[in-house]
């Protein structure tokens, strides 16, 4: 009974186990709910899911399993082309429009999208709602902001028949979406965890003395939890062009976590790290800091996080003079190697969706330079990156 439901949940990577499945059975046996689909949805969610970041996965799994039972056909209408086009035009910058032209124009892209939509429809006959969110959007591949062209969300208003789980209210809480203002708080908590390591007790000498005195001379040992912020962090942000929005977000994120670190320092670079970086983003060009100086000033116990899309011409990394802004005597790759050799723990956070990394030669090169320690700028990615930074 409902065994396939359980496996559908597992397939969608909802962390659920046999214990929870048996709980659900017990709940049904006790008739907590009875032949009410919505109530069953809430009940199974309460029992099977233990974290709000899993709610979205659960919703998707639920929809997949019950599409046969409920027969909700939500996608017999086509997405109006005009609407899509308008949305796109709103989102794209001039530069990006130029890029589309280079790729065969908007019409060509639209055609691809249409084909993708059809493909997906055939695979999930009947209950296909996940267009544009499940990775059909070819737009991300060419570097557009997937936030702007989220088809599933905006067309939803046409589907008045949508069920609770189809609304996917918890999409923003899901841990594999990009960082946004909603889940930035959760990310912050991850960072705090990063900063606070170890909770072992240590002897509280002052308290022990005073309480022993109060205790008429009998020894009364007091312990206090150990709290030390030992993490020293250097952050390098790629600024200029497409990265600015992401960078602002990251900067906010890390400055909010500022108090949790013993030492934190921000630096900026453009596209790739070369012989100089700067610290004041508004006054770039003035008071450049020599990268050597960073290598000398900060010990190898500092942890280094790069934030950037690493999307550029491969020559910008591998050739002298590759920088788009100035003449660099030595290629960026040499500078990257110097950093990774000096600092023991380095990671790279990349706002590009991971699925598109292999399309960009420059990301591949950077991955090699970082010894594969590149993570997507999502909650999961941040968690992974922090794990890598803390590895002994």
């Amino acid at each position: 009974m409902l065994i396939n439901f359980f496996f559908t949940l597992r397939k969608h990577k909802v962390k659920t186990s046999i214990t929870e499945y048996l709980d659900l059975m017990a709940a049904l046996k006790n008739e907590v709910v009875y032949s009410d689909m919505d109530a069953f949805y809430y009940l199974s969610r309460t029992v099977m899911v233990k974290d709000e970041s899993q709610y979205d996965k659960f919703d998707r799994a639920f929809a997949e399993y019950f599409k046969g039972v409920q027969q909700v056909n939500l996608f017999d209408e086509e997405i109006p082309q005009e609407w899509l086009r308008k949305q796109l035009e709103k989102v794209l910058s001039e530069e990006e429009k130029q890029q589309i032209k280079a790729l065969g124009g908007l019409d060509e892209l639209m055609k691809t999208l249409e084909e993708r939509l059809k493909e997906q429809k055939e695979r999930h006959e009947g209950g296909n709602k996940w267009i544009g969110t499940g990775g059909t959007s070819p737009f991300g591949a060419h570097g557009y902001n997937p936030e702007g062209v989220r088809i599933g969300q905006d067309t939803n208003r046409n589907f008045s028949a949508a069920k609770v789980w189809d609304k996917r209210t918890f999409k923003n809480l899901s841990s594999d979406v990009e960082l946004g203002t909603r889940n930035i708080k959760v990310a912050l908590r991850r960072l705090r965890k990063f900063a606070r390591t170890g909770a072992s007790d240590e002897l509280d000498v002052g308290d022990t003395i005073s309480s022993t005195a109060k205790n008429a001379g009998y020894l009364d040992i007091k312990m206090a939890p150990e709290r030390r912020n030992n993490i020293k962090l250097l952050l390098f942000f790629d600024v200029g062009g497409s990265m600015d929005a992401h960078i602002q977000l990251c900067e906010e994120l890390f400055s909010a976590a500022h108090s949790e670190f013993k030492h934190i320092e921000f630096f900026y670079f453009h596209n790739c790290l070369y012989d100089g970086v700067w610290q004041d983003n508004h006054r770039r060009g003035y008071g450049d800091i020599d990268t050597y100086q960073i290598l000398h000033k900060y010990g190898s116990d500092y942890k280094v996080i790069f934030v950037g899309d690493a999307t550029m011409g491969p020559y910008e990394i591998t050739y002298p003079g590759g920088s788009v802004e100035h003449w660099n005597e030595e290629p960026g790759s040499v500078w990257m190697q110097r950093i990774t050799n000096h600092f023991e723990y380095c990671v790279w956070l990349n706002p590009q969706p991971k699925g598109y990394w292999h399309y960009h030669a420059s990301i591949q090169i950077m991955l090699d330079l970082m010894k594969n320690k590149m993570y997507p700028l999502t909650l999961e990615g941040i968690t992974e990156a922090i794990k890598a930074l803390l590895k002994k």
Partner: protein, 281 residues
């Protein structure tokens, strides 16, 4: 008989179901949600609705799991032994019952609130696994086994400051209280202020939800802040027009201190309002 909210507490259908499932299957219910969405209130109101005792165990960063079971007060025993008190012979006199013990031995099935479990040490939930699962524990000092007469209704709240271990989560049911929408908010306000003027409520809710939509606020105002703010508005007899008056010299809504609790937030909001007005002109 199930929990359907009380006259002071509006529970959504999902929440009712989660609570009832937890009561029926005798599992602890873990509640998460934005601060100020009524997580702690739930336990209080549930105890009221079921007409039973509420035992509250508020967790601090220094709380140990053992303190919920019992504590052995060695210091007073030592003092008593110096004074030659007869009591000292029975170690049982120095065992101080914790909240879980109280809950296990209560006459009627009580509601036990473990508030803000995420404040404690990372190991805290792991130390309570067996106790919450089997609802029993062992007192080493007196060689006594404490078994629950009936399984208490356990409500656990968390603000997500630390992740809880999987093994602990397996033993709980989970519900995430979503922020109420406009309609639910009206019901909630209705419960707290039955005779609020409609104009005032409309305007207040409008500026409240607008305020929540401002990006970049450090702390978004939540239900409890709204209730406080309305209380002040009613007390000061602010006319409805004053709240939504866009041309007013003051950019901030009256008595904003109840809604925005952070200096940076107030500055940010002032700036945004200033820009909005400049664009409008």
């Amino acid at each position: 008989m199930g929990f359907i909210g009380t006259e002071n507490y509006i529970a959504s259908k999902e929440l009712q179901l989660a609570v009832n499932a937890a009561i029926t299957l005798e599992k602890p219910l873990l509640i998460k949600g934005e601060p100020g969405t009524g997580k702690t209130m739930l336990a209080e109101e549930l105890a009221g609705a079921l007409n039973t005792n509420l035992l509250q165990w508020h967790i601090k960063s220094t709380t140990k799991a053992q303190q919920g079971l019992y504590e052995y007060d060695a210091v007073s025993r030592l003092r008593d032994s110096q004074l030659g008190d007869e009591k000292v012979k029975d170690i049982g006199n120095y065992i101080v019952k914790g909240k879980l013990w109280e809950a296990f031995t209560a006459e009627h099935r009580p509601v036990l609130l473990i508030d803000e479990i995420d404040k404690a040490d990372i190991e805290f939930p792991n130390d309570l696994l067996l106790e919450l699962d089997k609802m029993e524990f062992f007192v080493y000092e007196t060689q006594q086994r404490i078994v629950a007469k009936q399984r208490p209704i356990v409500i656990i709240t968390s603000n997500n400051e630390k992740e809880l271990p999987d093994a602990f989560l397996r033993r709980c049911f989970f519900h995430y209280i979503q922020f109420p929408n406009d309609e639910e908010m009206r019901q909630i306000v209705q419960v707290h202020f039955p005779d609020l003027k409609k104009g005032l409520l409309d305007n207040a809710l409008k500026s409240f939800f607008q305020l929540r939509e401002v990006n970049g606020l450090k702390k978004k105002p939540s239900t409890s802040e709204l209730i406080d703010w309305l209380k002040l508005l009613v007390a000061d007899d602010i006319p409805p027009e004053a709240i939504s008056d866009k041309d007013a010299k003051n950019a901030l809504p009256p008595l904003y201190g109840a809604l925005l609790k952070n200096e940076q937030d107030i500055h940010l909001f002032e700036k945004l309002m200033f820009m909005a007005r400049r664009n409008a002109n």
